[in-house]
Symmetry: C2
Subunit: 287 residues, 2 copies
């Protein structure tokens, strides 16, 4: 089933960040033709421009379907962030969007509803939506420690605590990440994103409101239970390592096989230098 | 039982903020003598100084018991925040504290464990620990709307969603507050405190990462299920109203009978002016 259309070009709908390029590279390396559809305001020209590409605006589903058909695509994949500050002139588009009952309905809920809604629109246009895991499984964190450092027993207890917390938040479509230090929950991520949450810990530590000793505490990232794995996925990269180290944490744990890693080599060598661990854990721990 | 010692002076162990004064005023108004024990680094001299008072440092349990006995106190109450930035020279004390196995054990967990531990120490010294509710129930938000404004149906749905979320977080000793806008969880409070969380929403809105229209969304504060109600209590005041308005929220809901209100008149008139609602809701909604 997953390979039915593997010989057709893959439509990659691209948000921001470097992941679209990583996915396209992996797809091309397997001998499949990637066709990039950059979302205006989020996708980066230098990333999109390396392959056959088109630009689309949010709301231009008709244009996308027309172009995808012309490119002979049968499958589509979404990748990249659409959570960064929208470019000013894009705001008008968002207002326009609110007029459309279907799209507005997506917004009546968390990210999951929004993303599932977008996938539904794509599938209504005759394209099969696939996930990164279907086309580039090597972009995910595997099980086990990635670098030189390992979690201590206390770190492991903190990881287990955070995974349980994230599991409990699943029904609320929130919280793909949390920070736990010595069994104390220090931060829970909602709309702010992981980098912002880590910056908060750095700030709270400066204010004396986070008092755990340096080198204690873990960042844990895990997809929400029931999350559509074809769409929004947790990810880590060199910037994550930098903030984890500045926040005085011992390391970070992510669910193996479902968290993407950007620039894997740079990320792991940064972790080694900063003496923080990076580990892929089984999701079963979250249950 | 609650009134056994009501004729004896009440030892009020005071953290920061204005609540210690409000509690002392209410206790004195009932004809009972308050004896203030200001915690160095947190309690404010102008608050403590209005009644008979002593200064104690964290860790000086012996000194506290001696003084409380000399003042003929049989009951003690904790009030005020100990979460604000500790004064610089206090940091040494915290380090000293970590040497004491019992105290260190309190820190191996969230606030609940810390506070229950402190209560245990007080009770081991022969004092009965009472709560604000026992001595000044009028300082709590009652059920129903406090000002001129009322939550809409959408606001009510957001309130119910946030109460459920806070309930789900109970086992993790975290999250006395959350912000929900149109069923979307925008923020969950952990170590940062409510004011900091609201400031984050103001910032995320400026960055375009919180896109709910102004006037949509609620702040909900509720004690964690199982929380020792004699100790750490959620509270609101004029500053809360100011931040709720700046964050573009419709209003705030707190659990009736368990959330304290500072400077009630000023708080309510600020809410009326800012056109935000303030409502006390029954905790049963959280179940």
């Amino acid at each position: 089933m997953a390979d039915t259309h593997a010989s057709t070009p893959l439509a990659i709908i691209c948000g921001g960040g470097s992941f679209p390029a990583a996915v396209a590279d992996a797809v091309a390396a397997r001998g499949r033709r990637p066709v990039m559809f950059g979302i205006k305001g989020w996708a980066e020209a230098e990333v999109i421009g390396r392959y056959a590409h088109h630009w689309i605006a949010i709301g231009q589903a008709g244009r996308f379907f027309r172009l995808a058909k012309a490119e002979n695509c049968r499958e589509a994949l979404f990748i990249g962030t659409v959570l960064r500050p929208p470019i000013k002139d894009l705001r008008l588009d968002w207002h326009t969007l609110r007029l459309m009952p279907r799209v507005v309905r997506f917004f009546r809920g968390g990210d999951d509803k929004l993303l599932s809604g977008v996938a539904g629109v794509a599938e209504s246009g005759g394209l099969r939506v696939v996930g990164v895991k279907d086309v580039a499984p090597e972009l995910f964190v595997p099980e086990g420690a990635l670098g030189r450092h390992r979690p201590s027993e206390r770190d492991q207890a903190d990881i287990a605590h955070a995974l349980k917390l994230i599991g409990a938040l699943g029904p609320f479509d929130v919280g793909q990440a949390a920070v736990v230090a010595d069994s104390h929950v220090i931060a829970v991520e909602a709309a702010e994103g992981t980098d912002h949450m880590l910056a908060r810990i750095i700030e709270l530590r400066g204010l004396g409101r986070v008092t755990s000793p340096s080198g204690v505490g873990v960042l844990v990232k895990a997809p929400k239970p029931g999350q559509d794995r074809r769409l929004d996925l947790p990810s880590i990269g060199p910037r994550t390592i930098e903030l984890v180290a500045k926040a005085g944490l011992a390391g970070l744990a992510v669910t193996a096989g479902s968290t993407m890693i950007a620039e894997a080599e740079r990320t792991i060598s940064a972790a080694d230098r900063a003496k923080v661990f990076v580990i892929g854990v089984r999701e079963a721990l979250a249950a």
